[in-house]
Symmetry: C2
Subunit: 211 residues, 2 copies
DNA sequence: TTTGTATTCGAACGAACGTTCGAACGAAAG
DNA sequence: CTTTCGTTCGAACGTTCGTTCGAATACAAA
């Protein structure tokens, strides 16, 4: 019985030589994500990343080959992590609306815990080139496809949905991902609270229920 | 009777010396918006803007003082234009739901006609500093406030809304502004079509109406 | 034509960028 | 001790950046 196929991280280069290597790699990626989330990819510099990570400039290059690869690693690890956890969660739930709740909560939990990484994934989506771009794009497409499947299944048994499922899914991602533009204004809210509001708004709309 | 106060463009420097000046300024701003939308502010260079505008590098500086001011002018003119037109449209409509439709349609028409500018406003929102930042922020806040007022008024006479109006407004902007991430996929859609879908989804939700 | 002003541009400046490289460090193995 | 190898870093490289400046051009007024 083959387990559900998950992504294989191409960033595992030769091998995890030491245990400390992975820990430090994460430390460096987190520093890179903080800088890039704050300044954007183009205005980020390796010197700022080095300062943020408490390392020397040249020391960074032991963990990635170029600035673009740093961006790639941040984005890849983030999507990979979200997808893995989403698959775990969805295994245990079959009801479509509960599955959508799992997806939204999973997304928001990642958001609140690692906002820098999500911001880098969202705002520098088109910056990567060639193979780097294709690899991240593949993960993004998988994520979108899974969510689209859930949205489609919600209206299967009833009359057709009010809005095309494909567009509705994109609008749902709009609601979810735009949060990083204003989240500091409601800091303290939990993923469950925000998730409930988004789910209610998405499924039933803003207007009060008619009697 | 004073007319409704509109924004006064601080970019009108000494005066519009010639009529050709304004036309060329717009030409330069459009070129800057194209480059910045394509590459992001940080990776944009004055040399790329010059090439896009068919001018020399140093010739650009006759129309703005610095790269940051170019970004400011693009953002300021865009918000100013959206706000002006929105105020015009809202003057003739009183029904809350029709007012919301005007807001959504106005936003989408700007989006489809000048996607580069909107993208620059959205993705490089936090790049400006000091006075530049405050001036654009003031316009953005006014835009948000107007929309929030409409959203609040929609449920005034009925039972309370399902979702806090403030959050609902932010989610609405999320749906509207996220479009630039995927719009090429549905190129050809009109502002009315997209607006109808967003309005329906926002007001009544994705689920079919219960009987 | 002559004068004055608005506009354009080639060339160049210093600063900051991403990246490289060889030496030095630390700890575990022989 | 010596050797080995993963890791770190200071110094420097060539390039490209934003910006400046003085000269050249276009064009309207006198």
């Amino acid at each position: 019985m083959a387990p559900i196929q998950t992504t294989v991280d191409p960033a595992v280069r030769v091998a995890n030589r030491t245990e400390g290597y992975d820990r430090k790699l994460e430390h460096v990626l987190a520093a890179g994500a903080r800088v890039m989330a704050r300044e954007g990819y183009g205005l980020s510099t390796m010197r700022k990343v080095a300062r943020e990570a408490d390392m020397s400039l040249s020391g960074l290059y032991h963990y990635f080959a170029s600035k673009e690869e740093l961006l790639f690693l941040v984005q890849y690890h983030t999507f990979d992590s979200i997808l893995r956890r989403l698959n775990d969660r969805l295994e245990q739930v079959t009801d479509p609306r509960e599955r959508l709740r799992e997806m939204v909560t999973n997304h928001l939990e990642h958001f609140l815990a690692r906002m820098d990484e999500l911001k880098v994934c969202a705002s520098d989506m088109e910056t990567l080139t060639c193979d780097y771009y294709e690899q991240v794009r593949a993960l993004r497409q998988r994520y979108l496809r899974i969510t689209l499947g859930i949205v489609e299944s919600i209206c299967e048994r009833a009359t057709g949905p009010r809005v095309d499922p494909w567009l509705a899914t994109l609008y749902l991602f709009g609601m979810l991902n735009w949060i990083y533009m204003w989240y500091p204004a409601v800091e303290g809210a939990t993923a469950e609270e925000l998730g409930d509001q988004i789910l209610t708004l998405f499924l039933e709309g803003y207007l009060p229920r008619k009697e």
